[in-house]
Symmetry: C2
Subunit: 438 residues, 2 copies
């Protein structure tokens, strides 16, 4: 017998933290559903060939094998994100889905990376995507930021969502005379702007063969941020002309119009954001928390040309966003931003003063549960002080004294532990007055 120790990279929460995690999960789900996205859950296990279809790095994948005997041919493995499973699922169930297919997916994913600060090997992702056939209207590019803004409002977290469009970047660089095949390399460098600063990026660009004027002009675009109309005007003023740039700016303008009702200091058009993946081809998103600058983007995504070309011979463009929930929560717990003493959903502890009141306790608890109030009856007729201490330690907000209750006379005494306020009133009145999770 030995006390087990945690496994590095596999976070687990205590009950009070788990209640907060549930609040986040519930709110994310609620908002995704309010915008008409339907839940999808794919199996945690995929064929290795499916996971490798996009040529992802093997070393991050956890293969599955039987405990007995050696394994060197892996057939099954744990998914490392929710995008590959979505692509596989859509291809597999293509005929049964109605397009545009609006789905959300909130699941654990696994990555066999070396554990380090803020990196987990098992964590929650909360993805939302819409997939169309052939052509996906731009309205959806605007729906994503609206939804994410709504979500963080409801979570009570100040978030900064930043938008850009890959066509703007690509078209601008090509308009400057850069060969198309050199664009990815420049993007990769510009992506480091926030981390290493403009001077270091300019230096690397010059080392890679761009003359210093060109390198500077590449960086000029990336400094533009503000409202949509303002940023678009300033981008045009840089004097570069290219059809792809123009297309990107028009798309940005469309999205800006659709989002004009959102606060301009929380939804920002920022031509400096890049999103590493080549996968994205149009609008891209990043979300940071101004009060937690070290955290990085906790919610990113964008538009892609073709979800599932590896699995089905159909063009399926989409746009989506993914929230790195576990990383966000771990940070909020670690920084003390989220702290709760409540260890249980129980709202009312029915005290059990003496054996003969057991029936009354049971009836009262039944009434409360019918009214949707999570309720416990204390499990032994101990001294009331001990029973109340249990409520206190678990963070149960109310205790109920059943002394005068009868089915006819509905009277109970209820005490709110935090304030010490105690009142005698009909149980029905208390239930009607109560708000959930008071």
């Amino acid at each position: 017998m030995h006390k087990p120790t945690p496994i590095s990279g596999f976070p687990e929460w205590l009950p009070a933290q788990r209640l907060e995690e549930q609040r986040f999960l519930d709110t994310i789900r609620q908002v995704y559903e309010l915008y008409g996205y339907t839940s999808l859950e794919t199996s945690a296990v995929e064929r290795v060939e499916v996971l490798q279809a996009k040529g992802e790095v093997d070393k991050e994948i956890y293969g599955l094998g039987r405990l007995r005997g050696q394994t060197n041919r892996w057939e099954l493995a744990l998914h490392f994100d929710l995008t590959v499973p979505l692509a596989r699922y859509v291809a597999q169930n293509y005929g049964d889905l109605t397009f545009p297919f609006k789905r959300y997916q909130i699941q654990k994913v696994w990555r066999g990376e070396r554990p380090q600060e803020g990196r987990f090997r098992e964590f929650y992702q909360a993805d939302v995507d819409v997939i169309a056939e052939e052509r996906l209207p731009l309205h959806f590019d605007a729906e994503m930021p609206a939804l994410i803004h709504d979500l963080f409002q409801r979570l009570g977290i100040r978030a900064l969502l930043r938008l850009n469009n890959r066509k703007v970047l690509k078209g601008y660089y090509e308009g400057l005379g850069l060969a198309e095949e050199r664009v990815p390399e420049v993007l990769r460098e510009v992506d480091k702007l926030e981390k290493i600063g403009p001077d270091a990026v300019r230096r690397t660009l010059e080392e890679s063969g761009l003359d210093s004027t060109l390198a500077s002009r590449c960086l000029e675009l990336s400094t533009l941020k503000g409202t949509g109309p303002d940023v678009i005007r300033r981008a045009r003023a840089l004097g570069v002309r290219h059809p792809v740039l123009e297309e990107g700016l028009e798309e940005l303008a469309f999205v800006a119009t659709e989002l004009s009702h959102l606060p301009a200091d929380q939804v920002i058009f920022d031509l400096g954001i890049v999103r590493g993946l080549d996968y994205y081809t149009g609008t891209i998103y990043e979300t940071t928390l101004p009060e937690h600058p070290g955290l990085g983007s906790i919610c990113s995504g964008g538009r892609y040309e073709n979800l599932a070309s590896e699995f089905i011979n159909r063009k399926l463009p989409g746009v989506g966003i993914s929230i790195g929930l576990s990383r966000l929560l771990a940070h909020l717990f670690g920084s003390g931003t989220l702290a709760s003493t409540r260890q249980t959903p129980t709202e009312v502890l029915v005290l059990w003063p003496s054996a003969e009141l057991r029936q009354a306790c049971r009836d009262i608890a039944g009434r409360l549960r019918e009214a949707g109030v999570p309720t416990e009856i204390f499990h032994e007729p101990l001294a009331l002080k001990k029973q109340i201490r249990y409520a206190d330690r678990k963070g149960i907000p109310y205790v109920l004294f059943p002394y005068h209750w009868t089915p006819e006379e509905d009277l109970v005494e209820i005490k709110q532990l935090a304030s010490g306020e105690q009142e005698e009133l009909p149980l029905g009145t208390w239930c009607a007055r109560r708000r959930p999770s008071a």
Copy 2:
């Protein structure tokens, strides 16, 4: 490029089925919380030594390894149930938990067994347990069936919960003169009663060395079923005396009194149920659906002496129940008992008749979402017939015509697609009248 095929034993649902699964998951969670159980989620991955601490069969465990290179020393593996993780979690976090610790846990588990009818390799379990220190009051043995009865009522499924007590079985056999060490073997045979019938069980018992009178008397107890008081009276009338039998009957009587408010044809005392595992030491439960006789028990559990003796030097008795959710759902889908055409949580599709109404559509959708109504705006100003067909195919119950809406005059036309009923009314009135998921 090739179309991926399903992996045998790893079930996945289509959107309409997933909505039903969510309804089940939500109802289970709701009822668990109404009785004061708090959510726990442990990592899917455990150390192999933890999973093997109770000496479980290796071949069911999925080990995890890196894709590159061979693996023959497994350190990590996927959990195959939620009991071992609970034991490990409680031992690990002992100092941070308040006892009795009432927790529920709804998670996927994995078993590397050969896939066959009704057996999955990845499936949902929904466990609820209460763990105490040293001594766990019997009230909790009665809380479990009350909770499960409440749950199936809310799910609208007729369920039959059957109770027994392992002490009754053990004490009765020992009272008959059977040596203690022979009891497990007899229990194992009696457990087959429903499957192979009393004659076959009697024959095996005789073959194992019991004389025919003793074998018959062993079986006599197992035929008793009915209300608590009735079954207890008839058990006593069998004339066997043993202190463990008496203790078991008293426990059953206590539980029967606590459950006297439940319908006697849905909560049945049945001395024929055994529960295979030696783990259980007192009250045991099984739940079947009378309308689905082939399904077997979909919700079983019982009381155990000591949750975590492998991991911590404390006596932690508990009682709990586990629902095999995926197996239940697969059966209900397969038998056509659960069938839904709704593919989305969206309740209202705001139609978008022409470009200039876009702003009105957006405002209306915002109002609906604020009122908690899952809402989509159709994504293109196509012919209304096409827009309505989209709602029809996704099973969206209402479509909304925004023609006459202005922020001042709140008028909209709403049509219920199933009935064809259409009415013009203020949006606020409709929202106030609506019930969730109408």
